[in-house]
Symmetry: C2
Subunit: 383 residues, 2 copies
């Protein structure tokens, strides 16, 4: 069999781990990178340097690819749609990638009857004020595009903050929603093939701080009815929008039940635990899905699996202690080889265990050894 060539637009850690997984299947990967030092370049079969929003660079890149996918959403969907009409297999499709626009996503999910928070899509402070009049301050405003890891998300306490913040966004579309009463955040990953077959990963609880995912723990220990609800909603969304490869669906658990927070049409931080913690990793299943190959078993490979992100420390932080982290039995360290910057995701650590508490303790112990900072004090909602 001639190995298929998968083109990945973007060369960050998601592309890095996807390319690493593709090696086992002898699937060739080519990444479209900004710099030759981007995280995925060492793992990919081939590297092209270019701007995905430069039509000529994109055209050059997709030539010779059996299928094109991405590790980030900073690609113009209309450009992708044009490439698609020229016969390039883009998976997930440009239409699905469009769902990374938070406004489009929210409007579409609501239109299909999926549970979303009350919301409005606005561009002016006065619209925010009108929304707050109906729903009370504070409100949460999220830029429709360009936000990640807490960037582009604002908690607005009053009219003055709304004016200052929305004024600073120069007319960009913003999704505004009430400050919800959230007891937990969970994520469900769905792997799907073009044929429609899908496989759902066990639900994880995500522990966030300032909008950045710090830790995940699988399986999430939430009410079985809510779990079933969330699982069904995630699968139904994947089918409704026609996702291919991995789709991550993030939920809020509120007094009103599960509410869809956000979608990401690609491998996702909330699924990094699957490398060691599931029978088949999200990265391998993304590759299988976009190549329309049978999906792998998504079951847990251990009773409980915890993942802790390695975030860049202050410039004064002591050097990382990788051997220190490796001395924690059962800790799996994944480094992305990215230049450090405070708060930047530089890697993650996964640990399995007989239960959630033990797994989380192992992951945190290894993280503390790595960074030399005290162990995280965040707790699971019900531990």
């Amino acid at each position: 069999m001639t190995p298929p060539m998968v083109g990945i637009i973007g060369a960050g850690q998601l592309a890095r781990m996807t390319a690493q997984a593709a090696i086992s299947l002898a699937v060739d990967t080519k990444v479209l990178a900004v710099l030759p030092t981007d995280p995925a370049c060492v793992a990919a079969t081939a590297v092209e340097i270019g701007d995905p929003n430069d039509p000529a660079a994109l055209q050059r890149f997709v030539a010779g690819c059996d299928v094109v996918t991405f590790d980030h959403e900073r690609v113009d969907p209309t450009l992708l749609a044009r490439i698609e009409t020229e016969g390039v297999r883009v998976r997930p499709s440009a239409a699905v990638l469009h769902f990374s626009d938070k406004a489009h996503q929210r409007v579409e999910l609501a239109a299909h009857g999926f549970p979303v928070p009350p919301f409005d899509v606005v561009t002016t402070a006065s619209e925010v004020v009108a929304f707050a009049a109906a729903h009370d301050w504070p409100v949460v405003a999220k830029t429709a595009v360009g936000g990640y890891d807490g960037r582009g998300v604002f908690v607005l306490e009053n009219r003055d903050q709304a004016v200052a913040t929305i004024g600073g966004l120069a007319g960009r579309r913003v999704v505004v929603e009430p400050m919800l009463d959230i007891s937990a955040e969970i994520a469900v990953l769905v792997a799907r093939r073009p044929s429609g077959d899908s496989a759902v990963y066990p639900m994880v609880e995500t522990i966030q701080h300032d909008g950045i995912c710090l830790e995940t723990i699988a399986p999430a220990t939430i009410d079985p009815d809510l779990r079933t609800q969330a699982r069904n909603i995630a699968e139904s969304i994947a089918e409704t929008i026609g996702s291919v490869g991995i789709l991550a669906v993030e939920f809020f658990i509120t007094p009103d039940g599960v509410i869809v927070n956000e979608l990401a049409p690609r491998p996702h931080n909330s699924g990094h635990w699957t490398i060691e913690g599931a029978i088949t990793s999200q990265f391998e299943n993304h590759v299988r899905g976009i190549l329309d190959w049978p999906l792998g078993d998504t079951s847990l490979a251990a009773p409980a699996v915890a993942m802790a992100n390695i975030l860049g420390g202050a410039p004064s932080a002591r050097p990382d202690d990788l051997p220190g982290a490796l001395s924690v039995s059962g800790a799996h360290v994944h480094l992305y080889a990215k230049p450090t910057r405070p708060g930047r995701k530089l890697g993650h650590i996964t640990a399995t265990g007989p239960d959630q508490t033990v797994a989380l303790h192992r992951a945190r112990t290894a993280l503390a050894a790595f960074t030399g900072t005290p162990m995280s004090k965040g707790t699971l909602h019900d531990h």
Copy 2:
């Protein structure tokens, strides 16, 4: 931390899987390959083309490596020893690599009192005949160097065969031993650091055919006393010879107890199952060991783990069916991207299960789907 650079002499499947594992730790790898299409080239950070037995090529290759290791034994130990004296960190050492010489290995193990078969190191047919006079025909003759996967191993039934075979070896050293009464073959992998710390993997049973390892199954279901014996011997050999990284010790189970068959001072086919089947793979532990980093947990990650090698079929064989193999739930396919040749190791398939029988059945089912040939009929010694 500046990523360490690991140089790997050779670019076959062992280097490929080592480089793939190194990505997680952000350890850079450079392989010394024969061809740019060698299996490891896609996974390594850097590739150099050259002959490891060309002193100039080897000198160029080791420059800039923090540590040098290998994926095959076809390197001149004296050349490596010279490089070592120049201050290059070769791990395992040239002295350990010398143990891949079957005659040296046998003589040294016997001298240290480890259980080995009766043997002689010979170069002539008349010495073989003399050995057979003491031990009876048939005898087994193995070339001291250059043999692998059954090549260089000969069962000699009588004087005529001895004359024909040994005559054809043009004076090469040969280890001769009696035809043993073998009830099972097992392998024990030991990971070791220069500091002396070591970690032992659960014992596997290997199922061989014509000297080629077809399948492995972990854990081996042999008598606990023999298991303890073999484990202790393997650890003791690792310490005695000062191995660093992975050392594979292959044993015969005979009516006289466990007997050491052969050593391999590197990651080994009998440890491929550890990628999914152990908490830490042999490849990651090889990297950790040669970098003198803490070794990872070698425990089983599932109750039972089976591995089946994918061997090249006849030229008339139908094309491989990767999607077919992936449709077997829980099957992990690893392809080495090597040109096919009858009997050549082209990849392997690992499956876990609640017990050895189920795991082996899964691996065989996936292999049969991949190759389109009927399932292997080989059985475990006691299943």
